[in-house]
């Protein structure tokens, strides 16, 4: 047996190019719309053009007469199918029954009214046009504050006040904080409705095999297992006879963390017609029928002392829920409230949430899900306070940060911040931009009449969502590691990555722990028949929770490998180094492949040990993780036109330990792009009658290459004690840190004109008007 002494190179922490990329750069990856099954039919959904209307009559006959059309279904056909589920529970929550097809009334533009099934997608589209629906239009309301006003049209007639829930959270003694305060600043701040716009729209293929009484359903989803459980419930089908497969998913950002009507509809249709059926969302449907994000109107009050010490905060939060509650809709604003303290040590907080129904698309988790709204609010309020006190915005933050020796720090909202060094990224960013000279430059610019701004945000976030008691459907994650007899390693993760790169980072972790070549590791996800139950991908949880589950499964396997190694070497104990079991005394060793083969050949088993090398671990995290960071943005505002240009973007993020710097940088860049999108361009605009006016990509502006600044991204590293990998999560950091930094920068630029706050998006016209008013 060979003797090996060299220590293998570790992969964790290295820029490893992604293992998922070869199929993606060659166009051979299989996204949902690439699936083709024998006999597959195509469905096209007929949707309401009205935001509120009674359905007087539906005539499907002309559609049925079109050659190639096999069926048309309406609300009456699907009555028995369970409602689209809402998994979030709040005391007193009003949950409207959300049928998968409208019954006698529609509640939003895009509400599904009928489904046409045809042999070909072109015929299905033609037939959908032939379905005649007679509507009686009803008054609609599209704005949450208007919906809450007396006399507003009732979205759901049984609840004329349009209130889905109210929620109060309090910590410390806010009344006293406001009594003691020397200064109180107040501001109404909105976080506008956004449209997530994953580049791949949603899609579903359902294939019912009557003979086997089993269904295979492919869906572009973030949560295959949760989808299976909930869908089985909706359809009244045994969960073990429903297989959900997630093909390649073309982006999601929270919008595919849901259970949608079309998933149940396609399953239902496939059972009815006995053929596989496919539905792929059009972009217009995606804008109307896939969840939106944000939709806050927040009234903030901040109490402080004249020296800048923050004492407490009050918030009245109005959440625009839309017409129905999707999977997590009412839970999202509660996350905002949890995050209200930001990185600051004040302990007095009082928050009231009102969830308002509107005749609009439901809101739900979109990148950051409640945390960007909270961070935007607090980071704006800190700047408003700094302006009020004529303090430097960096200094006021440094003064109020939680102290380094205070961790785990328990906030007024009951969170226990795991670890932190909040001044570090801010000071790093300040140094990077050379803050003092930037301020001098700004002074000179102002003297020349130029509008230049420097904006800071110091953000914290809640990642690794989350401990099970804090999540609606379980917050643990699972991993199985199988070492095959030939020594090849297969990892089955319960997460469902779709661009985040876990096929690579999990392979890095596995290769390091087992000491095998990374090319010998295969990471599989997204098939409920292959992968043990898992929760899925959202809330920056993949690596921190899924990676930790994997880590522990690997530890179990390592123990077993060592047992087999000891048996093979006929010693009591071996060490596992670089995939080789070594008897330290004699120096004799046995290779990984030899151990793997022996474990399956099972000629000689270690005591109390089963054959095979498979380990599964379900890991329940003891806490969330709390990444943080500081973003600094330098902007120039064109005084004549109000146009904002971002001159510099510096992001210093701390997401704990980094498995793959290339992937982490990508997450930050992408997050910043979405934050910048919200700050400057994106906005779902509804007309008073509930029509979505920004209804296509020709009106809803996404950042394009030429609109983005260069992002200077770096990291500080404060490991999380919550998990053995020391990781925190980075998927949402860029988005959360970005928007307040941009708005703070532009408000700073306009502050000589007396501007104190601007709501997003910072459109040129809005800014131009402020400049005009400031001049007057």
């Amino acid at each position: 047996m060979a003797t090996i002494t060299s220590k293998p190179e570790t992969l964790v922490g290295k820029r490893i190019r992604r293992r998922e990329d070869p199929r993606l750069i060659t166009g051979t990856a299989t996204y949902l719309d690439d699936l083709k099954l024998p006999g597959m039919h195509h469905a096209c959904v007929v949707r309401s053009p009205h935001a509120a209307a009674r359905i007087k009559n539906i005539n499907v006959k002309p559609a049925l007469e079109l050659p190639g059309v096999v069926a048309v279904f309406t609300g009456a056909d699907v009555k028995e199918v369970g409602p689209v589920p809402c998994a979030a529970g709040l005391p007193g929550l009003r949950v409207p029954h959300h049928h998968i097809l409208a019954q006698d009334r529609v509640y939003l533009v895009g509400h599904p009214v009928a489904v046409v099934v045809a042999t070909d997608r072109y015929i299905a589209a033609d037939a959908a046009d032939l379905v005649e629906v007679d509507y009686q239009e009803l008054p609609a309301v599209a704005d949450p504050e208007k919906a809450l006003a007396p006399g507003a049209p009732a979205v759901h007639p049984q609840w004329p006040d349009n209130v889905a829930f109210t929620f109060h959270q309090e910590g410390g003694d806010t009344a006293k904080a406001f009594q003691d305060a020397e200064v109180v600043v107040k501001q109404r701040i909105t976080s506008q409705r956004l449209i997530p716009t994953a580049m791949e729209t949603r899609g579903v293929v359902a294939d019912w095999k009557a003979g086997e009484k089993s269904m295979t359903l492919w869906s572009s989803t973030q949560v295959p297992h949760l989808l299976r459980t909930l869908l089985a419930g909706m359809l009244g089908m045994p969960e073990n006879r429903l297989r959900v497969i997630t093909p390649e998913v073309g982006g999601a950002f929270g919008s595919k963390l849901n259970v949608y009507a079309e998933e149940a509809l396609m399953a239902f249709i496939s059972m009815r017609i006995g053929k596989p059926v496919k539905w792929v969302e059009s972009r217009r449907e995606n804008f109307l029928c896939t969840i939106h994000g944000r939709g806050h109107v927040d009234y903030f009050e901040l109490a402080a002392m004249r020296d800048g010490t923050i004492l407490g905060m009050k918030l009245k939060l109005i959440q625009d829920l839309g017409a129905f509650l999707q999977l997590l809709t009412p839970a999202i604003p509660t996350l905002s409230v949890l995050m209200m303290p930001g990185l600051y040590k004040f302990k007095n907080i009082s928050a009231d949430i009102v969830g308002a129904f509107t005749n609009c698309t439901p809101t739900d988790a979109y990148r950051g899900a409640g945390r960007p709204e909270a961070t935007h609010g607090i980071e704006r309020m800190v700047d408003i306070l700094a302006a009020e006190l004529k303090m430097d915005p960096a200094q006021i933050r440094l003064k109020n940060f939680v102290d380094n020796d205070a961790f785990p720090f328990v906030t007024a909202t009951g969170l226990a911040y795991d670890s932190g060094n909040y001044a570090l990224p801010l000071n790093t960013a300040l140094a990077e931009v050379d803050y003092a000279s930037l301020r001098r430059e700004q002074q000179q610019a102002r003297q020349q009449g130029k509008l230049m701004g420097v904006g800071i945000s110091a953000y914290g976030e809640i990642c690794a969502i989350g401990p099970s008691p804090a999540t609606p459907a379980g917050g643990w994650e699972s991993a199985t590691v199988k070492i095959e007899p030939s020594g090849k390693v297969t990892v089955l993760t319960g997460t469902s990555p779709h661009g985040q790169g876990e096929e690579t980072t999990f392979a890095q972790i596995t290769a390091d722990e087992l000491g095998v070549d990374i090319d010998d590791v295969l990471v599989i996800h997204g098939d409920t028949s292959i992968v043990q139950y898992g929760i899925g991908t959202f809330g920056s949880r993949n690596t921190a929770i899924g990676g930790t589950a994997l880590y522990y499964a690997l530890q179990e396997l390592k123990t077993k490998i060592k047992k087999f190694g000891a048996v093979l070497l006929d010693v009591d104990e071996v060490t596992l180094v670089g995939g080789v079991c070594v008897d330290e005394k004699s120096g004799r060793s046995v290779s990984f492949n030899q151990v793997a083969a022996a474990a399956y050949r099972a000629l000689k088993l270690p005591p109390n040990t089963e054959p095979g090398l498979v380990a599964t671990h379900f890991w329940e995290p003891p806490n969330f993780t709390f990444p943080f960071g500081a973003h600094i943005v330098v902007t120039d505002v064109d005084r004549e036109t109000g146009q904002v240009s971002v001159r510099r973007y510096v992001a210093v993020d701390d997401c704990g330990k980094i498995i793959n710097p290339l992937i982490v940088a990508g997450q930050v860049h992408g997050g910043v792009a979405q934050g910048l999108g919200q700050a400057l361009w994106e906005q779902a605009v509804y007309a008073d009658n509930g029509q979505l006016l920004s209804g296509e990509l020709t009106d809803y502006a996404l950042p394009r290459a030429h609109m983005m600044p260069w992002i200077e991204s770096s990291h500080t590293i404060t490991p999380s004690p919550v998990n053995p990998l020391g990781v925190k999560g980075v998927g949402e950091a860029g988005t959360i840190g970005c928007s307040p930094a941009v708005v703070n920068s532009v408000v700073d630029a306009l502050s000589p004109l007396g501007v104190r706050h601007i709501d997003m998006p910072l459109t040129p016209e809005k800014i131009w008007k402020l400049i005009q008013e400031g001049r007057a």
Partner: protein, 156 residues
């Protein structure tokens, strides 16, 4: 009424009968069974369906198949014949120029035209050259790095 068309697809001659309304993207995906070109919008704004038509980037969702009759169409599948990656494909991989990958085939093909026209573009020229392709994942920065890297490699 169906019409006969013939075109050169990824270097091979193909002939079919198609409805005039059949969009080129659907021809490529449904008839020719390719999976590289993707559909991301219906307003020809996202560029996920970009292919090269006679060497120039076009949005195949805003073209009827009959318009491509007699012409050369190159999709991402044809960019790496015999498995040898184009420098751009290699660079997108090395520089992490993609995450979910949905926009990637279109992005690479538009970048291919850009580098054909301008072998050493500046950052600004790259940004402008890619303005017809939306990516929701990367913030474009690694894409720009990839195009620069591919340009450098091609120039070397």
């Amino acid at each position: 009424m169906k019409r006969k068309i013939s075109l050169t697809l990824n270097g091979k001659a193909v002939a079919d009968e198609v409805e005039p309304r059949l969009l080129l993207i659907h021809y490529l995906r449904e008839v020719a069974s390719l999976t590289g070109p993707h559909i991301g919008c219906e307003t020809s704004t996202c560029g996920a369906c970009t292919v090269l038509l006679d060497g120039r980037a076009v949005k195949s969702c805003a073209m009827f198949t009959v318009q491509a009759d007699g012409r050369q169409v190159l999709t991402i599948e044809g960019l790496a014949p015999n498995g040898k990656l184009d420098p751009l494909q290699e660079a997108f991989w090395n520089e992490h120029g993609l995450q979910c990958g949905f926009c990637t085939p279109g992005m690479i093909l538009t970048a291919r035209q850009l580098l054909n026209d301008n072998p050493s573009p500046t950052e600004e020229e790259i940004r402008k050259g890619l303005e017809g392709n939306l990516c929701r994942c990367t913030g474009y920065q690694h894409i720009i790095n990839a195009v620069k890297a591919a340009a450098a490699k091609q120039g070397a």
